[in-house]
Subunit: 134 residues, 2 copies
DNA sequence: CTAGGTGCAAATAGTTTGCAACTAC
DNA sequence: GTAGTTGCAAACTATTTGCACCTAG
């Protein structure tokens, strides 16, 4: 497999953006080099994922978020109000992963998990408001 | 709000398909009535979600899965090999939801959760095979 | 009757593919 | 030198929007 400049750039971008979409990765790459095509970004991400250097998660609808497998695997907490992404220790899901493995042989990919909900800030901000979501 | 035939059909379709994509819902509706447009399906799903009759989950990349809020809320287990969707009791995540609420004020929406991984069947089928994914 | 709902077609966004030119090895 | 890689443009899929027509209330 050939190590091209583009591939190095894409990998660097994935590492520096911690949850980058293909588009964001492309933009980041473009800061360092001109003319790397979005197509190449997609192809490279697929390749890097294939050889296990990156993984992707679906943090919301829309573009997937890519992250390097270098980082400690972590669980994503996505706030559906403000859209921010928090991380939690993978440890959090360990008991569940254990239970699913034991009870049904299902092997959870912890680094791929996103939990949706509402973060503390947004909960505070909307406290007292129950019904109307405009 | 007007109760139209189309809306009733879309809601019925969401209920009968348990994890339907907009496309599948459209197809299901088309079995019962002619000429309901995919656009209407999208608009109706948005509306039904807004008034709380349905929710959607991202079970994989691609189209979201809609389900009726009638059903018991449940956790989705998505096999990344065969694509099948299993369900688990929401109970499974309760301790985690509790912990996140206590530790960081993050309120997890349990019915929105999908756990990715590999089901027992696929694990068995690929036992002993480590590297090559063609 | 009328405000809200629908269908159509076109716009948009994200992603994939064919193919010719290019380059790391 | 050559097979693998890239860029471009066009295809494709999923979704949204504008607008004229239609219908539930």
């Amino acid at each position: 497999m050939r190590l091209t400049n583009q591939r190095q750039l894409v990998l660097d971008a994935v590492r520096s953006l911690r949850h980058g979409t293909p588009d964001q990765i492309h933009a980041r790459v473009a800061e360092h080099a001109t003319g790397v095509n979005i197509t190449t970004v997609y192809r490279t991400l697929e390749l890097l994922e294939d050889i296990g250097l990156v993984t992707h998660t679906h943090l919301d609808h829309g573009p997937p978020a890519y992250h390097s497998t270098d980082e400690d695997s972590h669980v994503h907490l996505v706030c559906r109000r403000c859209g921010r992404v928090f991380t939690a220790e993978p440890d959090l899901l360990a008991p569940i992963a254990e239970r699913l493995r034991a009870e049904r042989g299902f092997e959870v990919d912890i680094s791929h998990v996103a939990l949706f909900g509402c973060c503390a800030d947004c909960a505070t901000r909307t406290a007292g408001n129950a019904a109307g979501s405009a």
